[in-house]
């Protein structure tokens, strides 16, 4: 750590910092699947990425739009079911069109479904939005479970695999990881771009004070419905990856458990910034896979629950909030440390060195 500080002293230009952060993150994300076993690339890496994408759609709605929708997994499920039905499955049900037809239809279908959810839910706020979106999600779950003509009921569809394109089998762990990474990066960039666009700023304005925005002449309802559609578009991509990952889809995919998992992931990571859902997804997937190794098998869900509880209790804005606070603390300590190391005489003797006041502009 000290070497980095030596090479890049505190005088690094401000604009360079995000560039450096992104560069390090990009290198790490690209190298990661090449150095870890397949299990880590596929089940941990790829799964975190596409769950992060679905949770990102919720973060976009909740963080920028102030609308917490529990139907995001349902939207992903709609897209997943469309891929399964249109793109071919083990039951030979549906037209079995190639992926370049099935995937766009699935994304369009998911976006359309999300728009409809938006139209229904848009006039509610707070807990009522949660109630109405969960009602829609449950309705879809029961429809999928009991309908045999289209959804094939409880069993759903199996053998839904990603295509071979450019001579690559996208189902192999590393290829699937990079496919998920591509989708994740594009979704992340899209959300980042949207948040700074006129639309995104207006949406945040509506979140903060809908009445004032209306008075300024903005069409609040249209903005909110558009936000639902946009979030649905993102969640649909996650849904397509989800169904390819499991190679199957059944009503269990859109049951209450997975629906709440998405909320947990978003809250865990933090709803303030688009990176939050991905951080949350990594923690969620790691806990889901490894908690059983650390504790009695009857209790491992309790351990998962306690971890979530601890994070939410100590940091209402998720792991990102913890990270921010930690950064402040370390910066303070670092600043104090530097002051102590200054040669005596040069030090500003009027300022007590060890109190560790934050240095303005250092964050």
């Amino acid at each position: 750590m000290s070497t980095v500080a030596d090479v890049m002293p505190g005088t690094t230009p401000r604009w360079l910092r995000p560039v450096l952060t992104y560069a390090i993150a990009a290198i790490a994300l690209v190298i990661y699947p090449l150095i870890v076993p397949d299990f880590w690339a596929f089940q941990i890496g790829a799964q975190s990425l596409f769950l992060g994408v679905i949770a990102l759609s919720l973060m976009f709605l909740g963080g920028y739009g102030g609308m917490v929708s529990l139907a995001q997994m349902t939207i992903a499920g709609v897209a997943g079911y469309l891929v399964a039905i249109i793109g071919g499955n083990s039951l030979n049900f549906g037209p079995a069109w190639p992926w370049w037809a099935a995937v766009p239809i699935a994304i369009a279908g998911g976006t359309l479904a999300a728009t409809l959810v938006g139209v229904i839910a848009v006039r509610t706020a707070g807990i009522y939005t949660i109630m109405i979106t969960i009602a829609i999600a449950m309705a879809f779950f029961y429809l999928a479970q009991q309908n045999y003509t289209l959804f094939n009921g409880h069993s759903g569809f199996a053998s839904i695999l990603p295509p071979h394109v450019f001579g690559i089998d996208w189902r192999t762990p590393i290829a699937f990881y990079f496919l998920s990474l591509l989708v994740a990066v594009l979704s992340y960039a899209l959300v980042l771009y949207l948040s700074r666009s006129t639309f995104g700023i207006a949406l945040q304005g509506i979140r903060d004070n809908a009445r004032r925005m209306r008075a300024l002449g903005f069409n609040v309802t249209a903005h909110r419905v558009a936000a639902y559609a946009m979030a649905g578009f993102i969640a649909s991509f996650g849904g397509v990856l989800l169904v390819w990952f499991n190679s199957r889809i059944s009503p269990g995919t859109v049951d209450t458990g997975p629906i709440f998992d998405i909320l947990v992931i978003a809250v865990l990571g933090g709803m303030r910034r688009p990176i939050g859902p991905f951080v949350g997804a990594v923690i969620f997937v790691l806990l889901e896979n490894f908690a059983i190794d650390f504790i009695d098998r009857e209790r491992f869900n309790t351990l998962i629950g306690l971890c979530f509880l601890a994070i939410v209790l100590f940091s209402p804005d998720g792991v990102l909030g913890l990270w921010d606070r930690l950064t402040v603390l370390i910066d303070r300590a670092g600043a104090a440390n530097r002051m102590l190391q200054r040669p005596i005489g040069n030090a500003d003797r009027t300022q007590p060195a060890a109190t560790g006041r934050p240095i303005p502009g250092r964050r």
Partner: protein
């Protein structure tokens, strides 16, 4: 900011190193994965299945073929997705040599497909009993020493037609592969004998309200065949009785399980005399079975009055695995070839009779025709009517001919 990021990366790297280090292992031990449902609607059954597997491991002092057995458990919630995720972790991360599981029907079918992608690992079934797992496109490295849901029904169809005199029945079962398999097993004999199944009701797993089903049960039938499990069975039986239903019942293998029989309520008297069939019977008068029941009750303070189908099944699978490992001295170095040959050809002496495998690696085993009776202590139990030895996956019919009846589903077979 970047310093902290770098610090974070280093922490992650160390953590990853610790996790990957789990790969290193000694040559004198074998890693065995046990996959069951420790969550979801079958959580209690999953616990009991682990009880059974543990009994087998402890009986052999956690050793097989001269090597120490290292047990790693994986949990599913009875959905195929969760089962495959847990299996993937056990196989690809924990690097188990042999995987025992899963517990329920749809999971088994998914596991068959997963097994084909992992030829270096040997998969031994838990208690999953869907027929297609071994009869349709079987995996060469998947072995099932517990018979399937069709075999469990052996003898029941002709018994209720001839002895009980039931000519017309309706069936009710949960809407997934295992109850389809059970209904098929019942109907094969029942239809052949001349009986009619006038209607079939399929309800989602975990249904609480059966009033619409109860209301649509016709009056001119002789009995109701019930292939529900656990809480579903209790809910249906209670609601059917409260609605004034009086038709006699015929039970599926897990419908008359101890978890249902030990529940309190008026339906207890009503259940007495209900015929059923399955891979075990509570009061079988066989010394090996009695010893097994005694050992089961001692194994755990939370054990049931008598072993359930799940502890029994996992016990048999684990025993079969240990016996084959002993036969090859724990040598898996030839890509499991000798071990798999041993599994395919061995005869396992289980508490419920001798078991061996057919060419699809599915068990040929004894099945029990039973009737519910009340014991002296007031507890209900399954009384043996008849033991049917050597039941195979096609119930004695040649395989080509048998496959013409089609895979078990909501509509197949039919004899209205």
């Amino acid at each position: 900011m970047r310093r902290n990021l770098l610090g974070g990366v280093m922490v992650l790297a160390v953590a990853a190193g610790v996790l990957f280090a789990a790969d290193a292992r000694a040559q004198d031990s074998l890693k065995i994965g046990v996959l069951a449902t420790f969550e979801g609607p079958f959580a209690i059954l999953g616990e009991d299945s682990l009880r059974g597997a543990t009994m087998a491991f402890k009986e052999h002092n956690m050793m097989a073929g001269g090597k120490k057995l290292e047990i790693i458990t994986g949990s599913s919630d009875a959905t195929p997705e969760a089962a495959i995720k847990a299996a993937r972790k056990l196989v690809e991360q924990d690097k188990v040599d042999i995987l025992i599981g899963p517990l329920s029907g749809d999971e088994g079918i998914a596991m068959r497909d997963y097994a084909k992608t992992q030829p270096q690992v040997t998969f031994i079934n838990g208690t999953s009993a869907a027929e297609p797992t071994t009869l349709v496109d079987p995996a060469p490295n998947f072995f099932r020493f517990t018979s399937n849901g069709v075999q469990w029904m052996a003898g029941l169809g002709s018994y209720v037609y001839e002895t009980k005199g039931y000519k017309k029945v309706v069936t009710i079962g949960e809407d997934y592969s295992y109850p389809y398999t059970q209904v098929k097993g019942f109907m094969i004999e029942f239809c052949k004998a001349g009986g009619h199944v006038v209607d079939k009701f399929w309800t989602p797993l975990g249904t609480k309200d059966y009033s619409s089903v109860v209301a649509s049960i016709p009056d001119d039938i002789d009995a109701i065949y019930v292939a529900l499990g656990g809480a579903d069975a209790i809910n249906f039986l209670t609601q059917y009785q409260q609605a004034g239903g009086t038709k006699p019942l015929i039970g599926g293998s897990i419908t008359v399980d101890q978890s249902v029989l030990s529940s309190k309520g008026k339906r207890r008297d009503y259940l007495i005399g209900t015929p059923s069939a399955g891979p075990l019977a509570d009061n079988w008068d066989d010394p090996k079975w009695k010893a097994f029941v005694a050992a089961y009750k001692q194994s755990d303070a939370k054990a049931f009055n008598s072993p359930t189908l799940f502890s029994h099944g996992y016990y048999i699978e684990a025993t079969a695995m240990i016996q084959a490992l002993d036969a090859v001295n724990g040598d898996l170095s030839d890509g499991h070839k000798k071990f798999r040959d041993a599994l395919s050809t061995e005869v396992v002496d289980t508490p419920t009779g001798k078991v061996h495998l057919d060419h699809n690696r599915n068990a040929i085993a004894s099945e029990f025709l039973t009737e519910i009776a009340a014991g002296e202590d007031g507890n209900l139990y399954n009384k043996v009517i008849k033991v049917i030895p050597d039941v195979n996956a096609t119930l004695g019919v040649p395989e080509d001919e048998y496959k013409k009846t089609g895979q078990p589903s909501r509509d197949a077979p039919a004899c209205p």
